[in-house]
């Protein structure tokens, strides 16, 4: 039942209203609203009960194993939430002067330093509000860099961004937003970038390349140094999509691989909550040549006072990308997480995430599942292809995914990367126990048996969730986007 269906006209929740309201107004009638907006009129308890009940219809990390590849669904420590929500942090206005902001700014400064260290980049700006905005900042900096060449006359021939065909959809979408043409580079059968194709593609038109390493195929790009040399020699820059940073945290620094700019997804690697789809945080780090273009604001320390760095201080900056300084509360959570891990904890993240992934991969292979890259080691994630099941049993990856929900496991990422048919991209993360991984593998084996003996059972799943499979076609064709949508 929707909250609106529980509403009664005239029901008022007075504890949540100012007690005395001065009714004086100097707003002329022409500016005023005459109808009442459709907000629920419910008691506090009704609202609390309704949304608490809704929450129980979700899978979440706190309730279920959630091996969603490329999303790094690791445990979100509660302490990070509690401490980021102390009143001093929650009540600080973004335009507060430095003398009312030293606590907050010191955390931001320290976080910049930590991220510089773990990525091997020269400077970091925290302000992008999500991975996709970090990508935008990165590619905009690449554009600004080329525009500043030749004594400011620019290098207008550089119109193309190279993107491997396995890349996240955001990479080409971002390049387009920055007015670059996108050229796809094929991947070879082992999951590495096709070096010969890359050599053929680069030239004076190359602005840069966007790479994820480990790639979205769950393998480490072994020829990364060679790729960096090829692109740099052609005059292009290297962009690192930090989606998979969890796999190499503290073990390999993107700066050492030759990247010029990187975005990090703090909601993945630094364990800030995914929140049902945001907020994220997508700080960017750069090599020396891109420092003049970093987005503002940043935080600096002058004579022991922390201060904001704005466009006034860096006129060449690509500017600001948010009204204030990005998702500050998310950044605080990431900072607390980084301090809890400490320098000795960072590389353990990569190690145990990799251990868990390789363990699952091996056990699934032994159970008869086909791996996309059987001769490679898994990184923090790996790919199983269910194309045999789809062909022989007519049971698709989507059917397996839905049936897993009945077994109490969130499905892995399905049908991404697009290169591998009927695929599952599985990322267990370092925070799961061996027992949990075994439980998932047992579920996969059980579903395989069901697929062989009673395929319709798998194809009809799920059965035990609040709803069964939904009619997506109807949702898109007969749009119903608000309550009473068609009655208006």
């Amino acid at each position: 039942m929707l909250i609106f269906e529980q509403s009664r006209t005239g029901r008022v929740n007075t504890a949540q209203q100012p007690t005395t309201v001065d009714s004086r107004s100097n707003i002329p009638n022409e500016f005023l609203r005459t109808d009442k907006p459709l907000l629920p009129e419910v008691s506090e308890m009704q609202a609390v009960r309704h949304y608490t009940r809704l929450s129980t219809k979700n899978f979440s990390i706190d309730t279920h194993f959630y091996p969603l590849g490329s999303c790094t669904m690791k445990y979100n420590p509660r302490g990070c939430n509690t401490l980021s929500m102390l009143p001093g942090f929650l009540n600080r206005h973004p335009d507060s002067p430095a003398n009312m902001s030293q606590g907050f700014l010191s955390c931001m400064y320290d976080l910049q330093e930590i991220l510089k260290d773990v990525t091997g980049m020269k400077e970091v700006s925290l302000s992008p509000m999500a991975g996709a905005q970090g990508e935008f900042a990165g590619v905009a900096m690449i554009r600004a860099y080329h525009d500043a060449q030749n004594g400011g006359k620019g290098d207008p021939a550089r119109t193309e961004i190279l993107v491997p065909d396995a890349a996240h959809g955001t990479n080409p979408a971002t390049a387009t937003m920055c007015n670059f043409k996108v050229r796809e580079i094929p991947t070879n059968k082992d999951g590495d970038v096709d070096i010969e194709a890359l050599k053929a593609a680069v030239g004076p038109h190359t602005a840069g390349i966007m790479l994820t390493n480990p790639s979205t195929l769950g393998v480490f790009e072994r020829k990364i140094k060679e790729i960096a040399d090829i692109v740099h020699k052609a005059g292009g820059l290297l962009y690192y999509d930090g989606a998979n940073l969890n796999a190499i945290l503290g073990k390999v620094k993107p700066g050492d691989m030759g990247f010029d700019v990187i975005h990090m997804n703090l909601h993945k690697t630094f364990s800030t909550p995914h929140g049902g789809g945001g907020p994220g945080a997508g700080p960017v780090g750069v090599s020396s040549r891109l420092i003049p273009f970093l987005p503002v604001p940043m935080v600096t320390k002058v004579d022991n006072e922390y201060q904001l760095v704005t466009q006034k201080n860096i006129p060449t900056s690509i500017g600001r990308l948010s009204a204030f300084m990005g998702n500050a509360g998310v950044l605080l959570r990431a900072y607390i997480y980084a301090r809890l891990l400490g320098k000795e904890g960072m590389h353990r993240v990569a190690e145990y995430a990799t251990l868990n992934a390789n363990y699952m991969m091996k056990k699934l292979e032994k159970a008869g599942f086909q791996l996309a890259f059987a001769n490679r080691k898994a990184t923090h994630e790996f790919i199983v292809t269910l194309k045999k099941q789809a062909k022989e049993l007519n049971v698709s990856a989507m059917d397996f995914a839905k049936r897993l929900l009945d077994y109490g496991y969130h499905a892995p990422t399905t049908y991404f990367p697009l290169l591998v048919p009927e695929c599952f991209l599985i990322e267990p993360t370092e925070t799961e126990t061996q027992d949990e991984l075994d439980g998932f593998i047992d579920a996969m084996i059980a579903i395989q048996k069901e697929a062989e003996t009673d395929a319709d059972k798998v194809k009809g799943a799920p059965y035990t969730l609040p709803v069964r499979r939904l009619d997506d076609v109807k949702a898109a064709k007969e749009l119903d986007l608000t309550w009473n949508f068609k009655k208006k």
Binding site: N26, M129, F136, T482
Partner: protein, 465 residues
């Protein structure tokens, strides 16, 4: 090992299953020269108790401020239930609802949110949110260029009464796509866009942005501006404060036909000030433009048994399907903030929101009177305002800021970097959270400071003047 559950026995048995001797062997595909030498700036790990002490101390440094600043971020009362429920693990630690059957809680909540926002803005449809108000305006500009097929110019008229940071963000995000944002200047008496001063022959333009209230708190002539834009075949992008919409005319009712796209900052609906984020941007539009709208959209549908359910819809617009041809590169919305906003709106209801809006309006009027009564401050503009006003001070605003912030009072926001021509002014705001005593404290301090500064005219002051 924080948050890693493995025992030595676990590791041994897992390595045996994999068939390697050590965890390090799992990294043997990474070229040796790339292995990190170790971290130098990351401090040693601490326990939750220790970090708790550190964070309490730092939060304390910024605590107990009395805030009269607005300028795009507003302090409102947030019912305790809002964040108690929002931070339940089932909302807090879930991902984007791709597996609809396992995400009905988030999906239904987003559908309810879309309904509330569509009604509040008077538009047909709402998306499930964007990053913040500034980036929502940037996305609205991109959307207008896609949606207005009559216009070829990619020219957007952007009044200088729009929040300067929103204008900067919009510029930074859209400039790569050949879109120009052309400024419209404001009336120096009213602090608004004077419809009489609009160009008679503006040429082809794609959209006019109309803020209500505008950055100065001032109410714009929305009806005249909307009609003017529509007469020239341009779309209207409304940038509004959601709290104000409980009192003020909804963009869907502006002028003869209403605004086409409405966007704004959702923070006043249940998100704390929190140093500027996370907040959320909202966006709503006419039904005919829904396929041009960026971000997640939730639809109601049925399952195999005909039972009501909710799912992401119109995904063909999005980057994970369209790649380089997507309407935007946006992936996330600000799900958790929308969760808070939806619960906030349910808890306060239509009457509560109207009272918050009215109380904020009245408090600001009251603050203006008290400041003016000191004889040392006056309103710069003569038009009505919602809950914020630009005040001209006799004393230098920098001095006022320094002296008051030393007493943990934030007297407003200095905007001279963006509007040097307006002189010695500050944008002040008093929401429903301010008591009569709070307002009096501000006025008394101002009076006292002015007295002190008159009795000792410092050379530094005259050099700054």
């Amino acid at each position: 090992m924080p948050f890693i559950p493995h025992t030595e026995e676990d590791v041994k048995s897992m390595l045996a299953t994999i068939g390697v001797n050590s965890i390090d062997d799992l990294f043997d595909e990474i070229p040796a020269e790339l292995r990190s030498e170790g971290l130098t700036k990351v401090p040693k790990g601490v326990s939750e108790m220790e970090i708790s002490r550190i964070m309490h101390a730092r939060a304390e440094q910024d605590s107990r401020a009395l805030c009269f600043a607005g300028a795009g971020a507003y302090e409102h009362h947030i019912p305790a239930a809002v964040w108690e429920i929002t931070t339940r693990g089932e909302f807090y630690s879930a991902y984007t609802p791709y597996q609809a059957e396992a995400s009905q809680g988030t999906l239904q909540l987003l559908y309810e949110y879309q309904t509330m926002m569509a009604s509040l803005t008077g538009m047909d449809v709402s998306n499930a949110s964007l990053y913040d108000g500034a980036s929502a305006l940037a996305e609205a500009v991109l959307m207008a260029v896609r949606a207005n097929r009559k216009s070829k110019s990619k020219r957007i008229l952007m009044p200088r009464t729009v929040h300067p940071n929103y204008r900067k963000v919009a510029h930074n995000i859209v400039k790569g796509q050949g879109i120009t944002l052309e400024e419209l200047d404001f009336d120096m008496q009213g602090g608004h866009i004077n419809p009489d001063s609009l160009p008679k022959d503006p040429g082809d333009f794609t959209a006019l942005v109309i803020p209500q209230p505008n950055y100065f708190g001032v109410l714009e002539d929305i009806d005249a501006l909307t009609n003017w834009a529509h007469e020239h075949n341009a779309l209207v992008i409304a940038v509004v404060n959601p709290t104000s919409l409980a009192l003020l005319k909804a963009p869907g009712s502006w002028g003869n036909e209403g605004a086409d796209i409405t966007c704004g900052e959702g923070q006043p609906l249940g998100a704390p000030l929190s140093s500027g984020g996370p907040y959320f941007g909202f966006m709503a539009c006419r039904e005919q433009f829904v396929r041009q709208m960026p971000g997640r959209i939730i639809g109601r549908t049925v399952d195999l048994d005909g039972k009501e359910g909710f799912a992401l819809t119109l995904q063909a617009r999005e980057q994970h399907i369209r790649r380089s041809k997507a309407t935007s590169n946006i992936c996330t919305n600000q799900g958790l903030l929308v969760t808070a906003a939806t619960i906030y709106m349910a808890l306060v209801g239509p009457d509560g929101l109207a009272k918050v809006a009215q109380s904020s309006h009245a408090n600001t009027q009251n603050l203006i009177s008290k400041l003016e009564a000191t004889g040392n401050a006056s309103r710069l503009f003569n038009r009505p305002v919602f809950h914020e006003s630009l005040m001209k001070f006799e004393i230098q605003t920098d001095e006022l800021m320094n002296a008051m912030s030393a007493q943990r009072i934030l007297p407003g926001v200095i905007i001279s970097d963006d509007y040097p021509e307006l002189g010695n002014v500050m944008l002040v705001c008093a929401t429903e959270t301010k008591s009569e005593e709070d307002l009096q404290t501000y006025a008394d301090l101002l009076a006292e400071m002015t007295k002190n500064s008159e009795s000792s005219k410092s050379p530094s002051k005259s050099s700054m003047a």
